[in-house]
Subunit: 555 residues, 2 copies
Amino acid sequence: MSLFAKHQPILERAVKALHERTFFAQYPEHPSPKIYGEEADKNGREWFQQMVGQQFAELQQADSAGWVGAEVSPYLQEPLNITYPTVTPDEYLVNAARAFDSWRKVAPGERAGLLIESLERLRERFFEIAYATMHTTGQGYMMAFQASGPHAADRALEAIAMGYEELTRFPQSAVWTKPMGKYEITLRKEWRAVPRGTGLVIGCSTFPTWNTVPGLYAGLVTGNPVVVKPHPGAVLPIAIVVAEIQKVLQENDLDPLTVQLAVDTPDKLITKELAEDKRVKLIDYTGSSEFGNYLEGLSGKIVFTEKTGVNSVIIDSTDEVDKMVANLAFSITLYSGQMCTAPQNIFIPAEGIDTPDGKVSFDEIAAKFVEQINGLVDNPKAGPFVLGAVQNPATCERVAASEKLPGKLLLAARSIENPMFKNARLTTPVLLAIEADKVDVFARELFGPIAFLIKTSGTEESVRLASQLAAEHGAITCAAYTTNADTKDYIADQLALAGTPVAFNFKTGIYVNQHAGFSDFHVTGGNPAGNASFTNPEYVIRRFFWVGTREPVTG
Amino acid sequence: MSLFAKHQPILERAVKALHERTFFAQYPEHPSPKIYGEEADKNGREWFQQMVGQQFAELQQADSAGWVGAEVSPYLQEPLNITYPTVTPDEYLVNAARAFDSWRKVAPGERAGLLIESLERLRERFFEIAYATMHTTGQGYMMAFQASGPHAADRALEAIAMGYEELTRFPQSAVWTKPMGKYEITLRKEWRAVPRGTGLVIGCSTFPTWNTVPGLYAGLVTGNPVVVKPHPGAVLPIAIVVAEIQKVLQENDLDPLTVQLAVDTPDKLITKELAEDKRVKLIDYTGSSEFGNYLEGLSGKIVFTEKTGVNSVIIDSTDEVDKMVANLAFSITLYSGQMCTAPQNIFIPAEGIDTPDGKVSFDEIAAKFVEQINGLVDNPKAGPFVLGAVQNPATCERVAASEKLPGKLLLAARSIENPMFKNARLTTPVLLAIEADKVDVFARELFGPIAFLIKTSGTEESVRLASQLAAEHGAITCAAYTTNADTKDYIADQLALAGTPVAFNFKTGIYVNQHAGFSDFHVTGGNPAGNASFTNPEYVIRRFFWVGTREPVTG
């Protein structure tokens, strides 16, 4: 049985889910022993522990340029000393070009089957990936499991499904008969979806699989070989993914170098050399706006980016002020604000907001924020696990410096202790109150757990500022609280024009940070935060083009 | 009855045709009195004749910057002295921004209905458009009718249909329920397709409606206001289109300035001022590679281009050598080689080609080309009508200069007479024989009736050169002749990689120049000839983006 036939039920469910956009998950998000096996967690942890200091030997790649690696655990603040085999940038691209010629000829359904097979294999390694993610990104255990495992696999499946649908959208052939009055002309036509060529997928340090697999699988399913250039600080999670795809390819007599991992180190980065090479036709990137803009400016490439943004919260009114603040406090604290979806700018009318108990003033809301964030951070059963650790020391420096920004410091960063990792790199959120006219201060992404309560003249100014910042500086999320239907419509309309999805009145059990596969488009392409929308049709169709042939039917 | 309901049958047929890609035409291509009315041709001609020297008063536009116009008839070589109302570039964009706010809120189906209504109105004006096209582009009567009338309207309908399909591809709302073990979370989600904003559609001088209406209607159907900046030499045909759309908008209480015609003159071009303005979000362009590359380099815009290319013919073998040559002779001569689909470089093995009667030598094929082109040009019932007239005097100069290019001049340009237009700007084709190693000579578009017979070492070199020129310099068509199935597969594969559709073994009644709406993708996006593929999904989906909202369902 072909892998297409084997996985057709999954593929069909996924394509259906894309269109229904109701809840769908192929891979369960809970790290439950009942689902994943009694030993899975323990085995994953032990696998990671034995990897430390070792060569990652699973890749079917040469090592002509040596074994390198520079990962540091944010929990241990010690190098992992895991190394990966490397070749020169030119060799990666030569290998990719060779693999292209066979991979492009594999039928779309078979490609989808092979790629789904790799996800099914990954499922068996979700706990290994989880520990690898914790100790490279600093994510808490639960996030590391969910984001890098099932959520990433679902996003990959979504890209496969969207790609498969687009690749099979037009007929492979048709007979075209044109009536010409006394006679007719009959042509046989054929169409093929031609992949563009080698793709380069550039990973980030905080979500090494979740932000990488959509571009990786979108590139592969549409017939392109892919070189994955991970962030030097977060290699191991995606190395497992690449290794599993390579194994599936090899088992099926395909060139394993259809996908390659191109590891580099901070002292010798290879990203620009790869990106600027004419042989690279597609680029996927997650990271800073500065580097993203540089990539977007390269000519002759199709570039998909997720860059930085400034996410807003618009507070107009609410029926449950404490639950609202608790929800936002969690969103600010979660993974120490290192999510691209984390809120930063919280717009609150100077006159306060309407609630069932009357007006609640700006200062009262501010006090509730301080209380809720402290309560969460200081809860030993929640704080350390929600905060996780800080991936990059520069983030801690930014957090410390933010205390000196204009405005009123409501909450300073504190040092707390993670009971399991005494040496973890930690910070708690900084919260400032600031006037709306100090827009220069908050009109940029301050990556990390830094939030502003911004005093506006009213909801109209809040909406105007949130829209303007999104349109000018990018935004990936917006949370809004209002009990007024007209205000809700107005917020939705204005933020839509600024390319920003809005989460209304999130209170319990669901957070603005979370974008669900098969339902929420992550990044809209409508503002400077990027154009890599997981997964809208554009995200796959620009990776190939349609070409036809025509020939008269004779006889 | 809404216009959506009225035109839903047409829309549904068009969407179906997009997917079947068999023959479909909503608008009959033959200028038959039985179809279009006994008086239609006469009325169209008379309408055009009375327009000469007049103001085009049908546009619902202000004239604060005066009435301008600089069209010259290639058949009369006299100015038409038709003028159009103009405002400043800033005013066009202010008007467009105002219209945007209402147009974006019109439902996709209603937008499609309004736009199809405008096409149905245009149908009544196909003969007016035909004469307007003849006397601005130099096209022969039949081409002017077909290309600017029914073929253009079908391409517009194709864009509407593709846009409508994409806009309605995802649900407007869904209830998303996530099981959480002991409880569940239910969100109501809504999605909207948000148009990007003002579009600028820049026309060309040779196909003023056919190359303009796809971008115009694709922009409008996806909710964007459009400013049409026609080539100053070919305004009247598209002015009729814009006027008809404006009338439909006004009759339906919508802002007629949702579409505007922005006429300029060669001494005061406004294209760059419009294109560089931040308010312009979308650009469609047909014309030179130089200007197209400049537009593609503007940041913050979505740009669709059809630029120049170098179209090849690969002759490997044929069962009917005379019919093959006759077919190509027609393609070279048609509209004096001023089609973007016209062949230029004809690759022929030095050792000749296989036919049922044995080898036919390079020189014999060359002699047949000379004979067939002369026969066509000198046939008084065909020559002048097939050739049409030359739009731009520079083309005549290029044709004359081409006789001095390296290689052997097989056929020089001659002056012939058009019996109906004694003063027409005419030239006949130039044909040169050249060695394959003189690639610098033929590796660029020589716009006009200029063709090379290129002597190669064999079909492999022919294919290699055709592919390489397409990949490096762009190509919109390729014709190939072979009786060998393996060779055919090889040509199709190699040219597909170079983003070039191939017409195999065209002999009678069908020409490589012709791309059929609803079936042939015109321009693939796979080579430097441009990315404006009529009409693939990318051509519409990049004109809007998806944005969602989420809210917990309570109670």
